[in-house]
């Protein structure tokens, strides 16, 4: 990962500020490489799937731009090919992407000042963008770094989809097992986030949530696990409200 920014105060002089901005964008692009390992092959898989389902090629980039959520798009290709009723599609989108509701709690949107950039950052708040940001120490985060990473991720996703479309006829199917890159990425980011904030309780509660979710609702495990996790955190908060919130002060956004 990138070295910490040497200049914590960007308002010192124009020249260093520009250099810092460039460094931040470069750091954001570097952040995106590891996410790209998972996103790019998935994009190719999406393009291949669209062609194999007999759908028009432009659906791959159009889905990528309109949804920009990998797991959902792979799911939608089959539903669209079967001409599933629109109401069922709407419900599927709602359930599968509901997890993004929880990202708002800790996604550092307050770093982004420009309203258009802010809108883009929200639109492009995919799992990988949330995850890469969450594993960065707070002092290393910045708007240019975050946006550069998000734009790069979208380029990998749309680009992968177009390559998959082009490959569609040539290859029998995507290479088996490449989707494991996402699992490896999230594992590594969990390790990094764990190092920078020693949240043993959060990991234990998350582990309990995901175990219960996988046993009870394997079809929508992510959705159930996040709901349970939030419920457990609320319970934890209720139990610990009387303790001094020193850690909260360290993490909280500036009001």
């Amino acid at each position: 990962m990138a070295a910490p920014d040497p200049l914590p105060d960007p308002a010192s002089a124009p020249a260093p500020a520009l250099a810092t901005r460039k460094q931040r964008i470069a750091a954001g692009v570097r952040d995106s490489f590891s996410a790209g390992l998972g996103i790019f092959p998935l994009g190719i898989a999406l393009g291949l799937l669209v062609i194999q389902a007999g759908l028009p090629w432009w659906l791959a980039p159009a889905l990528s731009l309109s949804a920009f959520a990998g797991s959902l798009e792979l799911l939608l290709v089959g539903m669209v090919a079967a001409v599933t009723p629109l109401a069922s599609i709407a419900l599927t989108v709602l359930v599968v992407n509901f997890r993004h509701v929880f990202y708002a709690f800790s996604f550092p949107l307050h770093l982004v000042r420009n309203p258009f950039a802010k809108a883009y950052a929200v639109y492009a708040m995919i799992d990988e963008a949330y995850a890469v940001n969450a594993s960065l120490p707070e002092a290393e985060r910045s708007a240019p770094r975050m946006l550069a990473m998000q734009i790069a991720c979208e380029v990998y996703w749309v680009g992968g989809g177009l390559i998959g479309v082009a490959l569609g006829a040539a290859l029998p199917g995507p290479i088996k097992g490449l989707e494991f890159a996402l699992c490896a990425l999230f594992t590594v980011l969990t390790l990094d986030a764990f190092r920078s904030r020693h949240e043993v309780h959060s990991v234990l509660l998350a582990g309990a949530s995901v175990t219960v979710a996988l046993v009870l609702t394997p079809g929508v495990a992510l959705f159930t696990a996040l709901l349970l996790f939030v419920a457990l955190l609320l319970a934890r908060h209720a139990f610990t409200t009387r303790r001094p919130a020193c850690r909260a002060a360290e993490e909280a956004v500036d009001a």
Binding site: L37, I175, T187, V203, V230
Partner: protein
């Protein structure tokens, strides 16, 4: 083959719902910035959400082909090992872990 108007309707629905799910919570939370619960949750959530994403992604890999469970667990161990042993270089860890899984799944 579905009609173009059906495809456009799907794209519109997908775009609207996805963006709303991402945007509306920010608008709601802006008014709750100073709430102790929101501050506490925003500090506690990231590492747990990452762990949940890791486990569900692992489950997704394994659910498609259950006989690959042991390969996937081995690949996770390799990923963690490489990450801790080689200076936490994310691309290296993810790359080697994925290569191990792809090699095992395709060779065995």
């Amino acid at each position: 083959m579905p009609s173009t108007s059906y495809l456009v309707a799907v794209l519109t629905i997908v775009f609207t719902i996805t963006l709303a799910l991402r945007a509306v919570p920010f608008a709601v939370l802006r008014t709750l910035r100073t709430s102790p619960i929101v501050r506490q949750l925003s500090a506690w959530m990231p590492v747990g959400i990452l762990a949940i994403l890791a486990v569900t992604a692992l489950h997704g890999s394994v659910a498609a082909e259950p006989h690959t469970t042991s390969y996937a667990l081995l690949a996770v161990a390799v990923t963690v090992g490489v990450h801790l042993a080689c200076g936490r270089r994310t691309i290296l860890s993810v790359g080697i872990g994925t290569a191990v899984y792809v090699a095992l799944v395709n060779a065995l």
